[in-house]
């Protein structure tokens, strides 16, 4: 790996890297020029397909395949760029937008050229005010220089980019939630089918791509698919930005080939676990992906290998490290609180389930836990999400994965916590216990128990 040359982040440390002259001086917009003047759109799609570029947003869906789902006879296509980077501990898109906005714009130009979209909406997270300002400026610069607008580089291709700020919801990072929000509605994900490629924003065929995915496209066009496939591991090709945060000495965002191990990330790039401690949990890609334990640190962080130890996927490759002083209860309490807060409230299982699990976690943390709560939580978590098919989007999967992982990997610690942390005021009352058991609270008063119509 020593010969790996960063491409996505190559301009980050150059002064004024966010301006057009600096970007152009470092070879910027050459890919766009090459594609627009010498290639036709289908060829760009074919090139990206050949490179097997997988979406960097979380699900890892092949980008070229997504582009080829658009109907052939479409009249108007929209491109949405998902910059609603709200997964906790993820900040690679932010750096891409703040440090090198023109690389993104070039990627958008190529993506739109390939998909024949003449309007692109860049949906940026509300909190990214700095990135928003930089992007607005960069878009204006690019327009003034003729990279946006009508008849770009004499190719007859038109493109306008609109930077749209979200309103601060995690769920708007889901592609159909993003589209709804972009249309001015409440960010509730839509049912699929129809998929956005058929009927997306404003009921037109729409492609939704992540910032980092599009940033890869200029490099693929410039250096070819073979170069791209020479990086990474099988089925997971190309460079990836890993965000390392948590209990490490150095919280950084580094560009590495896909397939680096968690241990290497911590030891080499993160400068080791802080205070000389050991890693206990490593979240591989945002908290919705589950976690790795200390024994699983040699897992390769790519789209395939990460599933072996039971994680949901690579996600955003935001690696959060927790040292051995961290309680699993605190970790679960935080994640469940996050998802209970961010569940959009549309599908019943997620709306009620996330809140239920959070309240249970809160009770356990406060000292009122029961061992049976763990079974209930596991059952609730296994019941909700797109994987069992009970919700529209994947938020509930993300909410349930940490629970499932915790029950599978660290259940003894949870049981130990419950057994040793009991506070009277937090415990449930005998009445609640009786309702739970389907019995009368004071069975002596009436000699029968409550009628049970159909017992589980």
């Amino acid at each position: 790996m020593a010969d790996f040359e960063p491409v996505l982040s190559r301009n980050w440390n150059v002064p004024d890297s966010h301006t057009l002259p600096v970007y152009e001086s470092r070879g910027g917009y050459q890919s766009a020029r090459k594609a627009l003047t010498t290639m036709d759109p289908d060829k760009v799609v074919a090139l990206v397909k050949e490179s097997e570029l997988r979406g960097r947003g979380g699900a890892g869906f092949p980008c070229g395949l997504k582009w080829s789902f658009l109907p052939k006879d479409r009249k108007e296509t929209f491109m949405c760029i998902n910059a609603d980077e709200s997964e906790p501990a993820t900040f690679n898109n932010r750096l891409l937008m703040e440090r090198d906005p023109h690389q993104l714009i070039e990627g958008i130009i190529l993506g739109c050229f390939a998909t024949k979209a003449s309007t692109a909406y860049l949906y940026i997270r509300y909190e990214y005010i700095n990135a928003y300002r930089i992007l607005e400026k960069a878009v204006a610069e690019a327009r003034a220089a003729g990279f946006l607008g009508k008849d770009i580089l004499g190719s007859g291709f038109n493109l306008e980019i609109y930077v749209h700020r979200g309103a601060g919801a995690y769920i708007c990072g889901e592609e159909t939630g993003l589209i709804e929000s972009l249309e001015g509605k409440r960010g509730w994900p839509r049912i699929k089918p129809p998929f956005p490629a058929i009927e997306g924003a404003f009921r037109k065929p729409t492609v939704v791509n992540n910032v980092e995915t599009l940033c890869c496209v200029p490099h693929i066009v410039e250096r070819g698919a073979d170069w791209f496939k020479s990086i990474g591991t099988p089925k997971s090709y190309g460079p990836k930005l890993y965000c390392i945060s948590g209990h490490v000495n150095k919280q950084v965002c580094v560009e590495l080939p896909l397939g680096v191990t968690a241990r290497e990330l911590i030891e080499v790039h993160g400068g080791g676990v802080w205070k000389g401690r050991k890693a206990k949990l490593v979240v591989p890609g945002g908290i919705s992906m589950g976690f790795l334990t200390a024994d699983e640190l040699d897992t390769k962080l790519d789209f395939e290998d990460i599933r072996k130890p039971g994680c949901l996927g690579l996600g955003t490759a935001a690696v959060t490290v927790m040292d051995d002083h961290t309680s699993i209860v605190d970790y679960l309490y935080n994640t469940t609180r996050f998802f209970a807060h961010e569940s959009c409230g549309q599908c019943t299982p997620c709306r009620e389930g996330c809140a239920w699990i959070y309240k249970t976690m809160k009770r356990i943390k406060g000292g009122g836990g029961r061992l049976v709560d763990l079974d209930i939580m596991l059952q609730l978590a296994s019941n909700m999400g797109m994987m069992p098919g009970t919700t529209i989007c994947g938020l509930a999967d993300g909410a349930s994965w940490p629970i499932r992982n915790a029950m599978a990997k660290l259940r003894p610690e949870l049981e130990d916590y419950i057994n040793t942390h009991q506070e009277g005021v937090r415990q449930i009352t005998p009445l609640q216990e009786a309702i739970f058991a389907g019995q009368l609270a004071e069975p002596n008063l009436i000699s029968i128990s409550l009628p049970i119509l159909n017992k589980v």
Binding site: G345, T348, T390, V456
Partner: protein, 580 residues
């Protein structure tokens, strides 16, 4: 021929209809529970109750491939080769889970909830839920609030199906309701200072599958299982909305819409909804009156009818003419018997149409498949809904009867002028209108023009005060019969209430005057008779009408198809309503 396999049984799909799995299964007697789906609203699939196992059968090999996940039935199209499994343990387990989630924050205050008895949560938790409850956490209690002067929102009971929100966005397109907050704190609300006050607002109460949206007019007034429901037609305007008139202990308590794809779709307007109150009015005529020695005094109905018959016959015998003014509130059958009676007395007798009340202008909503819609709209058939300015149910029907007996229609204005000019000796004034249409001056002018005046009405009107005989007729709720709506659709309306004390339904009045035997007479027999006599009504020739009514001759022949629809929890459990 397209076929679908439901729980292992193969069924033929109806042609020319785009159905989803819920609709297709219902056709073949398989119920798939659902909350958020409604046939006229776009599919959002957010309650997750209707999830079933879905697969497809390869037409060549016959191999069945199932989707690994559960799929909502509401978004699954029923196509050729679709396989549905609704009774597997996996599906039952899922339904039990959704019920548990929905009830997690539910207050379980059924004893004080108006929805009890027609509640989706009650029905489905009995059928698909579980008796004990594992939720021991503190409940999220969202607040109760008023969304308009007529509607109350009990947010704690809400299951966030968003049917009401979609109704205001997609059907009325006024968008008063919204969802605010996220997750388990999500709640339905209005925008500040913009109450839910569109003319169709009351429908959100009917749409609500639980007791969250409640009608303040009906609040805590009756338990719904005491109400007997009658398939009736609203008489407040000429749209002729199909309603269910719900009665208990001799009073009407509410109107609910009944589905008719050719008339009112699933809705009724608020004016019609609250028009039931006119039938409970304590001031309705409670006896018949006869003028003796200058004074109007109560008299037994048989005495009054004998007197009226004798007087009108003697006018005819003396060569005098009587004019009958028949109101557009009469049913077709009543108008036919009245006309037969008066024309039978003296063929020179004249028949005229009563006043047609008009208020404002027609108001309509025209939902389409895009405006305001959010989810999947491919199963929707958008239909317009109109509230007519013409505030009577049967102008077309009574006119058609009159035109059969009389060349050219005489309207109320010219009839009044001719009466005031003294052309007639007798006036038979059959009204039954909800609001009186003669003021005192007009009443005096009519009175002065004739020697003998019979008023048949439900209210004490200025004209009734001046009459020689007053017959207490039936209100809209007390009579059975057919009306022809503004589009020319002949529809049957059941009587919801028994005749009140001292009154006689108009059909019986005319039958007795005609000397028919035996009374009581049935509207169906009269309908069959008049259908044979008046060609316009030929469609009702055996006295029976299809569930959704039928267009009379000359009306635009909108199709007769369609299947009655009622949400599962609003149906009588065990025995589904059979329509007409």
């Amino acid at each position: 021929m397209a076929s679908i396999i439901i729980n292992g049984q193969e069924h033929t799909l109806p042609e020319g209809e785009k159905l989803n799995a819920i609709q297709a299964a219902t056709r073949y007697g398989v119920d798939i529970p659902y909350y958020c789906w409604h046939p006229s609203l776009s599919v959002v699939a957010n309650c997750r109750m209707c999830e079933i196992e879905v697969g497809s059968k390869d037409p060549k090999t016959g191999e069945i491939k199932m989707v690994p996940k559960l799929v909502p039935g509401c978004q699954t199209p029923a196509k050729d080769g679709t396989v549905l499994v609704t009774d597997s343990p996996k599906v039952h387990e899922h339904q039990r889970m959704v019920m548990e989630y929905l009830l997690a924050n539910h207050p379980l205050d059924c004893p004080v909830c108006d929805q009890a008895g027609e509640c989706g949560l009650q029905d489905y938790s009995f059928e698909h839920g579980q008796a004990n409850h594992r939720y021991v956490e503190e409940r999220t209690v969202n607040p109760r609030k008023d969304v308009s002067d007529l509607i109350q929102l009990n947010q704690d009971r809400c299951i966030m199906c968003t049917r009401c929100v979609r109704f205001t966005r997609e059907i009325t397109q006024t968008g008063e309701l919204q969802v605010r907050n996220r997750g388990h704190h999500a709640e339905i609300d209005i925008f500040r200072d913009h109450p839910l006050d569109n003319p169709l607002a009351g429908n959100v109460v009917d749409l609500c599958p639980v007791g969250a949206l409640l009608d303040k007019d009906f609040l805590h007034s009756q338990r719904v299982w005491f109400l007997s429901k009658h398939d009736s037609v609203c008489t407040r305007c000429s749209t002729g909305c199909n309603i269910s008139a719900e009665e208990n202990r001799g009073a009407l308590w509410r109107f609910k819409p009944r589905f008719n794809p050719h008339v009112n779709d699933y809705w009724i307007c608020d004016v019609g909804r609250y028009s039931y109150k006119a039938a409970n009015d304590a001031a309705l005529l409670s006896a018949c009156y006869l003028r003796t020695a200058g004074d109007l005094g109560p008299a037994a109905i048989d005495k009054v009818l004998i007197e009226v018959g004798r007087s009108l016959a003697s006018i005819a015998g003396a060569g005098g003419k009587t004019i009958g003014i028949l109101s557009p509130f009469l049913t077709v059958e009543e108008a036919y018997l009245a006309a037969s009676y008066l024309k039978g007395l003296n063929p020179a007798n004249v028949l005229a149409l009563g006043q047609v009340p008009v208020e404002g202008e027609d108001w309509s909503v025209k939902p389409d498949s895009t405006t305001g819609r959010t989810g999947d709209t491919s199963f929707i058939i958008p239909r317009p809904f109109t509230i007519h300015a013409e505030r009577c149910p049967n102008r077309l029907g009574v006119s058609a009867v009159l035109e059969h007996f009389e060349d050219g229609l005489i309207d109320f204005a010219s009839a009044s002028a001719r009466v005031a000019a003294g052309e007639f000796d007798g006036l038979y004034f059959a009204s039954d209108a909800i609001d009186p249409w003669t003021d005192e001056a007009a009443a005096k002018a009519l009175r002065a023009g004739v020697k003998y005046l019979v008023v048949q009405d439900t209210n004490v009107t200025p004209l009734a005060q001046l009459a020689d005989a007053v017959i207490a007729g039936a209100t809209f709720a007390e009579k059975a019969g057919c009306y022809v709506n503004a589009d020319g659709r002949l529809q049957y309306s059941e009587a919801a209430l028994a005749p009140r004390d001292g009154s006689l339904p108009d059909l019986d009045v005319f039958a007795i005057l005609l000397g028919r035997d035996p009374a009581p007479i049935r509207s169906r027999d009269v309908l069959a008779e008049l259908a044979g006599v008046i060609p316009v009504f030929a469609v009702a020739k055996d006295g029976r009408l299809p569930v959704f009514g039928a267009p009379i001759e000359g009306a635009e022949g909108v199709g007769m198809g369609g299947v009655p629809f009622q949400d599962a929890w609003a149906q009588h459990r065990g025995a589904k309503s059979s329509g007409n």
